[in-house]
Symmetry: C2
DNA sequence: TCAATCACTGTGTTCGCACACAAAGATACT
DNA sequence: AGTATCTTTGTGTGCGAACACAGTGATTGA
């Protein structure tokens, strides 16, 4: 017999094949030095009884150690990227007994050179795997090319770069989240309506972002459903409160008929704050991402819906994809869209923490 | 030095305390036979260096085995409870190397006696922990009382019974999901409207269910927001298609002004099918739970929103709660509401599988 | 013919921990 | 004092797998 669980061990396989455990081990890990004949025999037995190794025993015995490196934008507390890092940390925690350690590198997302320097440094350590929040395409491709040459698997988080060959991508389908935003905002409108549409901008922005894709999705809904509405666009600046204030005043006061607003950025709270302060309660508003400040305005009914994307889960799964690939030798599928969560006052309390 | 990860092992503690590994083990597991003095010394060192055991090595060495038993309603393929079982199976899969095995018992949810028999049988095996989909209160309390007397921890899944003392509860906040249904259906209505409200019924129903709570939540929204609407209620039968057909015909044809419908049951597809077949496309409809048939009608635009509750995740977490408590000695919090997912055509594809 | 080399296979130690058992002191009892 | 008993402590083995190392024949070369 085998153990209590009835689970098959290497010894059982060895017995059935009439060889020793060492030989089975050699077959399992393609270590060579096994005759073709016994190799086939052992392999067929493994397949037949559907052997799955005890990963914990395996990790315990293994001398291999793994180092992953993550490269993400630097952030302040409460920002979107903080949640990404939380997911990374959670993954790291779960993997320590598998001898995995994870280092996080930060780059200035408004500085191209910083991106390059950070990435170069991370790569110079020759990690076993990388998690990467990509920057603009040509820049990113330059480094993913290096990684591919060195045979280091990497995972994209948050956004994706075409023509690269990541092990996997974890992020939102931004087109569709923009489309859904339009539906939630406009589906029940019967007559022509005025809508404020906000995007964000920072000079020198180098990290990829989803604003333009979301807007594209938004517009495709309007086209498809032939919605009759007037869009009033504005672009806010990341770090210029006064300018933003003026811009919003201009927009809302000059167009008093605006009855809906959508902000294609996690900084939705900036507009929400303005609406709240100016008692523009009649304006329905949709924002993005589960930041604390956004949640605040969702709870006090300024933001009607928040479309969220579970960044911790994305990052966590990204780490898991690396370990699944490198340690557990599992097949990992390459594209993983995060669910688009629709959050309201009613269900928000159940979505904090994942 | 300790190992590569820098993680502290029992041996390290033993060295620091000037005792052997065996003694440290005795302290860690309260096995007794340790003098007060050394016990204190060892404990203080453990606390000081914040020791966390390698759970995998621990499980490997341990001779203990655990048997969990789950008691849930019997179901046919495609029903709600199938997803619960999937979650249980997933949990079982992850725990096999921790020497945990899980048995599932099924009861006829329309037969009180069956519930009793099934539960008695499950308890008679003296499991280490139980996962339970409760029935009506007095009946359930009878058995949870037995479990408590025997010191067997149990977890409620799906719905909850007051006055019992489960290790944890995993399920939806039904009141709030009814409230949210009302909001999605009615928030944009300006004039008085006619709404069809469906509940379900089966003679002899004994498993607890959330229909009435959802309805209560629905009504509280209407009261709070002073919505002006006419409700047309109907109760459908679980297994009588013809009667249901007649009932729906009566309702919708006699009240042609109905422009919205909500079904407080996972069998929402029954109403959706009727609307589809009778070309009542103008009626906005809200259903509950992520059944395949419901998804079908969501995708073809008959159901506008589906409010889902991740039953697999609930069950999975229920199993994890048991193992966290029994095996990993973690503290588990007692109430866990599942997120209320708002599903639409746009985000449904990302929510299948968890 | 004997040693060297090769392909192949078996054995033994190790990982961190649990647990059975042995050993060592301390105490009490005849 | 000698022995039985109890308390306290240390030692050894095994969990399942990884990997270094030690065989074992067969083949080759001198």
């Amino acid at each position: 017999m085998n153990n209590i669980q009835g689970k098959i061990k290497i010894k059982d396989i060895a017995e059935k094949a009439g060889v020793s455990a060492g030989t089975v081990d050699r077959v399992l890990h393609n270590r060579g030095n096994v005759s073709e004949e016994t190799k086939k025999r052992v392999k067929s037995i493994i397949a037949e009884i559907n052997y799955t190794p005890n990963l914990y025993a395996s990790a315990l015995a293994s001398k291999k150690t793994f180092v992953f490196r993550a490269v993400i934008p630097a952030y302040s507390s409460g920002e979107y990227w903080e949640m990404i890092e939380q997911g990374i940390r959670k993954g790291a925690q779960e993997l320590i007994d598998f001898k995995v350690s994870i280092h996080v590198h930060y780059y200035d997302q408004y500085n191209q050179e910083s991106f390059c320097r950070t990435l170069e440094e991370a790569i110079s350590y020759k990690p076993d795997g990388m998690l990467l929040a990509p920057s603009v395409k040509p820049l990113t491709l330059q480094y993913t090319g290096q990684l591919e040459k060195k045979g280091i698997p990497y995972v994209f988080i948050d956004s994706r770069v075409e023509e690269a060959h990541p092990l996997a991508y974890f992020g939102q389908d931004s087109l569709r989240s923009g489309y859904l935003g339009a539906k939630l905002l406009l589906s029940q409108k019967k007559e022509c309506c005025d809508v404020a549409v906000f995007s964000f901008f920072h000079p020198g922005q180098v990290a990829a972002n989803q604003i333009s894709l979301r807007m594209e999705g938004f517009n495709s809904y309007i086209r498809e459903k032939e919605i009759d509405c007037r869009q009033h666009r504005a672009t806010l600046a990341v770090n210029d409160e006064k300018k933003n204030e003026l811009e919003m005043k201009r927009l809302f006061f000059e167009n008093p008929k605006i009855e809906a607003a959508i902000i294609f950025s996690s900084r939705s709270y900036i507009v929400a704050e303005f609406l709240k302060n100016n008692n523009l309660n009649h304006i329905a508003m949709i924002g993005y991402d589960l930041l604390e400040k956004n949640v605040h305005y969702l709870k006090n009914n300024t933001i009607s819906y928040l479309l969220a994307q579970r960044p911790e889960e994305q990052a966590y799964k990204g780490i898991k994809a690396l370990s699944d690939h490198l340690i557990f030798k599992k097949q990992v599928s390459s594209v993983h869209y995060a669910p688009i969560d629709i959050l309201t006052q009613e269900n928000i309390d159940f979505c904090l923490g994942f």
